[in-house]
């Protein structure tokens, strides 16, 4: 096989991998796109669960962790971290999430926000 063909074959294989990943993302999104709740976990323990409804009054609350604080805002069927006192602010930069099993992770504070619907897949995967 020529040099070009070898590179092309590998490129094709990796393109296939990208397509497969995108497909997994889409299927996962389609299966879990229902009535949603958001779970806020600290160090693996769920400390608060909030409903994400489309037309609810926006509100904010602050989660005090032993490692720092995160201000969380719930609005219009989505949830996001609006402020945190962690050094990198990646959780706040992540913006708002609204679909199942998207997550916001604040590594320094061991805080994880996940969104899930009440789909059968969650029961199967134990999520």
């Amino acid at each position: 096989m020529s040099e070009f063909k070898k590179n092309a074959a590998w490129a094709a294989a990796f393109a296939g991998l990208i397509a497969l990943s995108a497909l997994v993302m889409l299927i996962h999104k389609a299966v879990n796109g229902e009535a949603k709740t958001a779970q806020i976990a600290l160090n693996g323990q769920i400390v608060r669960t909030v409903k994400l409804e489309a037309n609810c009054e926006p509100y904010e609350f602050t989660v005090d962790t032993p490692w720092g604080k995160n201000s969380i805002r719930v609005e219009n069927g989505r949830i996001g971290v609006v402020w945190a006192d962690c050094p990198d602010k990646l959780c706040a930069d992540r913006g708002f999430i609204d679909s199942a099993d998207e997550s916001i992770v604040c590594l320094p504070h061991k805080l994880v926000i996940t969104v899930s619907g009440s789909s059968s897949l969650d029961a199967v995967t134990g999520g």
């Binding site: 990208i18 930069d93 590594l107 061991k110």
Partner: protein, 168 residues
């Protein structure tokens, strides 16, 4: 690990180079709004070390870069993720490098990048005790293929130039 003055010098230079790349990259604002998605430019140097000297030398550069990187950026929270990602990445690249020669370094780099991200996700699942984080893997696989191909090509072209100079 056989060591002579020249090799020690080159490896020290490479360690310094990867450390600088790592620190500069950490200062760059995120390109896309997905945490964990970054170019991984420091791997260019590790990959070159792997092909010039071998896996043990690459491991030395990688581990020292991670430890010093934590010291210099002050981000010790990231250590567990760096080390687990790096360990999986270098293991995958060492095995791939047995079959793939210098003109296929970009392929090795993509495999290493996927390994790196898979290792980080695994560490996050264990540390956070939140298995749902695994659903983030497809995003990281896509980013790994793109960034891995880029850094691998950079390493491949750099090494080709470096060999032409006759320094190595």
């Amino acid at each position: 690990m056989h060591m002579n003055t020249k090799k020690l010098t080159v490896m020290s230079l490479f360690l310094g180079l990867s450390l600088i790349i790592f620190i500069v990259e950490a200062q760059l604002p995120p390109i896309v709004p997905f945490p964990g998605v970054k170019p991984g430019l420091a791997n260019i140097v590790v990959l070159m070390t792997l092909y010039i000297y071998g896996r043990r030398e690459a491991l030395a550069v990688l581990v020292l870069r991670i430890v010093l990187g934590c010291v210099f950026t002050g981000n010790f929270a990231g250590f567990i993720y760096s080390i687990s990602g790096g360990a999986v990445s270098l293991t995958v690249m060492s095995m791939a490098a047995v079959f793939l020669k210098e003109n296929r370094m970009w392929v090795v780099s993509v495999m290493g990048a996927i390994g790196h991200n898979a290792g980080q996700i695994a560490a996050a699942v264990i540390v956070m005790r939140t298995p749902q984080i695994m659903w983030y893997l497809p995003v990281l696989v896509i980013s790994a293929v793109i960034t891995g191909a880029f850094t691998g090509t950079a390493a491949q072209l750099s090494l080709r130039r470096l060999r032409k100079t006759g320094i190595l």
